[in-house]
């Protein structure tokens, strides 16, 4: 009996936090989304679906987010996996810690400052200038979707590397030896042993990066020059410039719904892959 009360007491802070910081604001967002913009900006109560009817006006922002977020996640995965594999499996144990720290070190500087650095690297005096030396003229990188993608990969890479690293690090090396003993070439061992066993890390990494990317606004704002708009940027604009809280809430609510649907589908997919893997390991 006493233990139960202690449990409840211990859960209190988290419950209050969730209620105040998540549930309550979400209710506000939903209520506001049926309202109207006040004459000088802000919100006045109403009940209309007008804000939702107006959603197509932000189609491009939704489209940019829904293409660049998965694309950025995929690109980060393709770069992170070999890196994590090297760190976990191939790297000399003597250097491993140092190499790991080097992956984290960029996190110790604000993402804002690191993204600003990319403005100069991708700007006319950066990479395009170097390319001129080898005779390639007229390359423009900054303020393009490509620049935004580079910024995304750079900014989110560590979030992808670590979960994959952990799952590869745990990998029982004897399984690899067994696979080799049974006559499997390295590539097949990778495909049938290493890769399936690292799927949990891949799944976690992708989820982390994807969810954060869906709400991203800093990188597109700085490296997209206000031209490659994410839904996050549209939201910032609606609240901080046009002061249309009602419409902003409708866009935010829609984003939440899209996220819920995608993440649920994704979890289902991962769970199915997981089951298949367990079937295989039982066999």
């Amino acid at each position: 009996m006493q233990a139960k009360w202690i449990n409840r007491l211990l859960l209190m802070p988290a419950t209050v936090w969730l209620l105040v910081m998540l549930v309550l604001p979400l209710i506000f967002v939903i209520v506001f989304s049926f309202g109207e913009r006040a004459p000088a900006g802000g919100y006045i109560p109403a009940f209309s679906f007008e804000q939702y009817a107006n959603l197509p006006a932000r189609f491009t922002a939704f489209k940019n987010t829904l293409t660049l977020a998965p694309l950025g996640t995929l690109a980060a995965l393709l770069i992170a996996y070999p890196l994590a594999y090297y760190l976990a499996v191939k790297a000399n144990p003597k250097w491993k810690t140092l190499l790991l720290v080097m992956v984290i070190v960029p996190f110790w500087t604000s993402i804002l400052i690191r993204t600003y650095a990319w403005i100069y690297i991708l700007g006319g005096r950066g990479i395009p200038h170097l390319l001129e030396f080898i005779g390639i003229d007229g390359v423009r990188l900054i303020n393009t979707p490509f620049a935004v993608l580079v910024g995304i990969i750079y900014g989110y890479l560590p979030l992808m590397v670590f979960p994959i690293y952990v799952s590869l690090e745990k990998l029982d090396k004897r399984l690899l030896e067994a696979s080799a003993d049974l006559g499997s070439p390295p590539l097949r061992t990778f495909r049938q042993v290493t890769l399936p066993l690292s799927i949990p890390g891949v799944a976690t990494g992708c989820m982390l990066v994807f969810i954060l990317l869906m709400g991203e606004f800093l990188i597109p704002a700085l490296l997209g020059g206000g031209k490659v708009f994410f839904i996050g940027n549209a939201l910032v604009d609606l609240f901080l410039q046009s002061r249309n809280w009602a419409y902003g809430s409708a866009v935010a609510a829609t984003l939440v719904i899209i996220m819920l649907v995608t993440v649920t589908l994704y979890m289902k997919l991962v769970a199915r892959v997981g089951e298949q893997r367990e079937d295989v390991s039982i066999l």
Binding site: W108, G124, R125, P200, G225, Q241, S242
Partner: protein
């Protein structure tokens, strides 16, 4: 999600901390560690944020140690802030904004924490109407001498007979063009600005992230009023903006860095930025569109409930001291309506055509209208243009 994933996470974190600890105990020197990790730099920054370590000096009355100023890019002489801190012990924290709408949004949301901000003429009646600013206590600003100021640039600060804002400086909104790329052609109109963006300057033009000027100067392409809120005229402006958008380098009110680096060749531009750029790079030419555009004046005002209002008044008073204001002008390159300040400025500056355009150009310009600030169509038009 599979079972071992859940088991994984806490272990990985623990492991991670262990790894870090091992690293701390390891063979690498402290100096190397600080250097590699950026911790050395972080310590230096933190030391600067500790009040006891900052310069302070006794000043008549207790002003506290901080004042927050919301203003525009490239708009002050940093040395003046340092002098203010030296004289009063009050540190000036500067927040930079790109549009009046953004300032209004922050104040409407509440808790901005600002003590002083710099609104433009056409916004002040809205701030008063929305009950967001306080009438100024002019006794606390002895350096503001109403009779010394040109009434054209001071009057919008007075609403219903009460002074809510005192004039900072004034200026025009034109565009700056890097003449190295114009092949000898002289640009004089807004029509040319938009047309050349679609052709020779494709990918090299910047427009403000600001409804008043970006929409206003698109309206000028068709010869409409800069302040139009007519839905049909706005629709024309939107069509032009959407057509031009793929040819823009960026939509950003802080355009000096891109123009200086050579990435951008032309941008909508305020007087002072034009002057600053032209002083450093003579090929940068400031143009006022023949069709017209904006003339404006900016003010110092205080939001309701400013947390450090005494320091706010002290800052406004300090910046309006003619000797200080003259230094401001030399740094920002905007004209002021204060005859006492002008008496201290060099003659060349008072005759500079960027600061003081020819009368026939000035006559076509319009002051921004209050309606544009709150008009829902203009607000949504700019937001749509940006997210298109």
């Amino acid at each position: 999600m599979s079972k071992d994933y859940k088991d994984n996470m806490p272990i990985s974190r623990q492991k991670f901390i262990e790894e870090l600890r091992r690293y701390e105990k390891g063979s690498v020197s402290r100096r190397h560690f600080l250097g590699v990790t950026g911790l050395g730099f972080a310590t230096a920054v933190m030391a600067g944020a500790v009040p006891g370590l900052r310069p302070s000096k006794a000043y008549a009355g207790n002003l506290g140690d901080k004042v927050v100023l919301a203003t525009w890019p490239n708009y002050h002489d940093e040395a003046n802030f340092e002098a203010f801190t030296k004289a009063t012990g009050v540190n000036v924290q500067v927040n930079v904004f790109g549009s009046n709408e953004e300032m209004l949004a922050k104040l409407q949301a509440g808790g901005s924490g600002w003590d002083v901000f710099v609104p433009t003429n056409y916004t002040i009646t809205t701030y008063v109407g929305e009950n967001l600013i306080e009438p100024l206590d002019l006794k606390q600003i002895p350096n503001y001498e109403a009779s010394a100021f040109d009434p054209r640039f001071a009057e919008p600060g007075t609403v219903n007979g009460k002074v809510y804002a005192v004039p900072k400086d004034w200026g025009t909104t034109g565009y700056v063009v890097n003449t190295k790329h114009t092949k000898g052609k002289k640009l004089t109109t807004w029509k040319e600005f938009w047309d050349i963006t679609k052709t020779d300057f494709s990918g090299r033009t910047m427009v403000h992230d600001y409804q008043l000027t970006t929409i206003g100067n698109a309206l000028k392409y068709f010869g409409y009023s800069f302040n139009s809120v007519d839905p049909k005229e706005l629709a024309d402006a939107e069509k032009l903006l959407l057509e031009v958008k793929p040819h823009l380098f960026a939509i950003n009110s802080d355009y000096q860095p891109s123009l200086r680096s050579g990435d951008a060749w032309m941008s909508m531009c305020w007087t002072g930025d034009g002057k600053q750029l032209n002083s450093d790079m003579p090929e940068m030419e400031y143009v006022i569109g023949k069709e017209g555009g904006e003339i404006w004046s900016d003010f110092y005002a205080m939001p309701k409930g400013a947390p450090h209002s005494a320091a706010g008044y002290a800052l406004i008073n300090f910046l309006l001291d003619p000797a200080v204001n003259a230094k401001e002008v030399l740094a920002h390159g905007y004209p002021v309506g204060d005859s006492r300040t002008n008496a201290l400025l060099p003659k060349e500056l008072l005759e500079d055509p960027i600061l003081y355009p020819a009368k026939e150009l000035l006559d076509t310009l319009e002051f921004g209208a209050a309606a544009t600030l709150t008009d829902p169509n203009r607000a949504e038009l700019l937001a749509r243009f940006k997210s298109a």
